[in-house]
């Protein structure tokens, strides 16, 4: 009897521990690149692409390691680490790390809380794991900027009304967050405007290389003024066909504040973003995105402002493991020191053979008129057309410990 009871307890223990086992994922994304891009924004230049004309050849696009660990019944920890094959401070570093609380839905309502570092819920394009877009290799100008400069380091709460689970055709979601440690957000858009890159800035790394010792060290995740930022968002869904997402973001930074150790100001950055995604049952997807905002600093009480705006439209057709996507981006930045204006066309074919192998071939052409090109140490004409062809081969392994 006692033996049976002990055995039953052991079985129960084993089951419980296996249910709380760690899910892990590793992926390696290798690239072959042919580019005529100007010196990249990631390498002290004003080129719009991740890989410029000195980068033809093979590269490590991304090495990614992710872990999801359930903690008890309704908590889970999620950690994302990446290496981008460039000369960042740390060879591998975190892009996201957070604790999530997911209580059971009750009476058609579900709430969720995240604490840590993560992306605000705004990109309907970057829907794949690791905050990647499955449609192209290079995300839109909007998502590229978010990946470069924005991270919520704080607390986010979400409430979902699960209408489709209760006989309705709509679901609704409201999100609110309080955060800090993102006061330098705005530095990059002021420095080089919009860009097209799937490289996400890591939590303890740098956004590219500093342009000069006089300016920022490009470490974006610091608290400078001890003021709390916020965002509020809403999402509506019609069945699984249509998603409309809106977000208002304000880091409430004090533009007079300065942190000597990173040689950067607190950039008061606020923006509004809208995104719409429509999907059909036969594999068509349309995604439209819009983002408009401004960032300010006030060195010595002298206010400086940069206004930025971008729009993009994507059309994709999925046929089994094949997908063909085309996207148009339009972007501009205006400030007292000049600005930029440009557009881009991206076409990508991808083949997701199974859960392990994915192949993608992308062509992107960015045409931009950037005033800052004239003031580079080696001045360039402001107008440039940059083209890049990139092949991505990604291998993913996942399992449970």
């Amino acid at each position: 009897m006692r033996v049976a009871r002990v055995r039953a307890m052991l079985v129960l223990l084993a089951t419980t521990s296996s249910a709380h086992a760690t899910d892990w994922e590793l992926s390696l994304d290798a690239r072959a690149v042919e580019s005529d891009g100007r010196q990249s924004f990631l390498d002290r230049g004003q080129g719009k692409l991740r890989y410029d004309d000195s980068d033809d050849g093979l590269h490590l696009g991304r090495f990614r390691a992710a872990v999801n660990q359930p903690l008890g019944e309704v908590f889970a920890a999620h950690v994302e680490a990446s290496s981008w094959g460039d000369e960042d401070k740390n060879p591998i570093d975190l892009t996201e790390a957070y604790l999530e609380y997911r209580p059971y839905p009750r009476a058609g309502l579900r709430s969720r809380v995240r604490l840590g570092a993560f992306y605000p819920p705004m990109s309907l394009e970057n829907r794949a794991v690791g905050w990647e877009t499955p449609y192209t290799i290079t995300p839109s100008a909007i998502s590229s900027w978010i990946g470069e400069e924005i991270r919520t380091i704080g607390l986010e709460g979400q409430v979902d009304w699960l209408g489709t689970r209760t006989g309705h055709v709509f679901d609704l979601q409201l999100t609110g967050a309080l955060f800090g440690w993102n006061d330098p957000a705005g530095t990059m858009i002021a420095q080089h405007g919009f860009a097209f890159s799937d490289r996400q800035t890591t939590l303890f790394g740098r956004a590219g290389e500093p342009r000069s010792d006089q300016f920022a060290k490009n470490e974006l995740f610091h608290e400078i003024d001890n003021r709390v930022g916020y965002y509020v968002g809403a999402q509506g869904r019609y069945l699984d066909r249509l998603v409309l997402n809106g977000l208002h973001y304000d880091n409430r930074a004090d533009p007079m504040a300065y942190k000597a150790s990173i040689r950067d100001f607190a950039w008061e950055t606020k923006f509004d973003a809208l995104a719409l995604r429509a999907e059909t049952g036969n594999g068509w997807t349309v995604i439209a995105q819009w983002l408009s905002g401004a960032t300010y600093i006030a060195p010595g009480g002298h206010w400086l402002e940069w206004e930025f705006e971008s729009r993009s439209a994507l059309l994709a057709k999925r046929h089994g493991p094949h997908m063909l996507a085309a996207r148009y981006d339009d972007f501009d930045v205006q400030s007292d020191f000049g600005g930029e204006d440009g557009h881009a066309v991206t076409v990508c074919y991808s083949f997701e053979q199974d859960e392990r192998w994915r192949f993608a071939l992308e062509w992107i052409r960015v045409t931009s008129d950037v005033d800052a090109r004239q003031f580079l140490p080696m001045p360039e004409p402001p107008l440039a057309t940059e083209t890049k062809v990139e092949l991505s081969v990604r291998y993913t392994l996942k399992g449970t410990l």
Binding site: H20, Y104, P105
Partner: protein, 226 residues
């Protein structure tokens, strides 16, 4: 749902039909007849996989005998994703995936939660009230299934031609109800009253007055969020 009725379900249905035969044999009836129900969508095409229940208005008949059913979790989906069971039946929810699931229902007909698990750690769940129970997984938002719990003596699902035949109905008056997850008010259903009066086979054509919702999108990789 676009998924075709899996083998698990059809074997369950066969078992249910056998139960009905046994049940009908005990009902004192002057004669027995079959009721062939044909369900069409608004556009005239067959409605596949619709849940049909045939409740006796007079004479009163008891519900079908409780059954033991299984709803598995395979490749981040419930299998089957629609099941109809007599009131008082049990369903066990094994998880055949490598990842853990967390099954819940907040439907008034049966509220329950199965904390995070893999394999088959929990006893079956009993469904003792009629109604539609919506199942979800608190980890994988896209997982969705329906349990239709019925107190009708006869029930089944339409085949690829939109047909289902209720065999051996005693003479009397019956209420036939159609339920499908894509009916526009999925909480509601379409009903018709039919008389069985000695004819060997009664045909009951039914046609939905309203269009169905679009079926859920399939084939997107699991690595995408929804």
């Amino acid at each position: 749902m676009p998924r075709t009725a899996p083998k698990v379900l059809s074997s369950k249905l066969t078992a249910t039909c056998l139960l009905q035969l046994l049940l009908c044999a005990t009902v004192p009836a002057a004669s027995a007849a079959s009721l062939a129900i044909h369900v069409q969508k608004k556009d005239g095409k067959p409605l596949v996989g619709a849940v049909l229940t045939v409740a006796a208005e007079s004479p009163r008949l008891p519900p079908a005998a409780p059954a033991r059913a299984v709803v598995d979790q395979v490749d981040l989906a419930f299998v089957p994703d629609v099941i109809v069971i007599p009131v008082g039946s049990t369903i066990s929810f094994p998880n055949s995936d490598a990842v853990s699931h967390q099954v819940y229902s907040f439907s008034s007909a049966r509220r329950f939660q199965l904390p995070l698990y893999r394999g088959k750690p929990y006893p079956p769940v009993t469904f003792d009230q009629p109604g539609v129970v919506t199942l979800g997984c608190n980890i994988h938002d896209n997982m969705l299934a329906y349990v239709v719990v019925t107190d009708a003596p006869f029930f089944g699902r339409t085949d690829a031609k939109g047909e289902w035949v209720a065999p051996n109905l005693p003479n009397g008056s019956y209420r036939v109800t159609v339920w499908h997850p894509l009916l526009n008010d999925s909480g509601l259903s379409v009903a018709r009253v039919v008389q069985i009066d000695g004819a060997e086979r009664t045909e009951l054509p039914m046609r939905l007055a309203r269009s169905l919702r679009p079926a859920p999108i399939t084939g997107r990789p699991h690595s995408w969020d929804y």
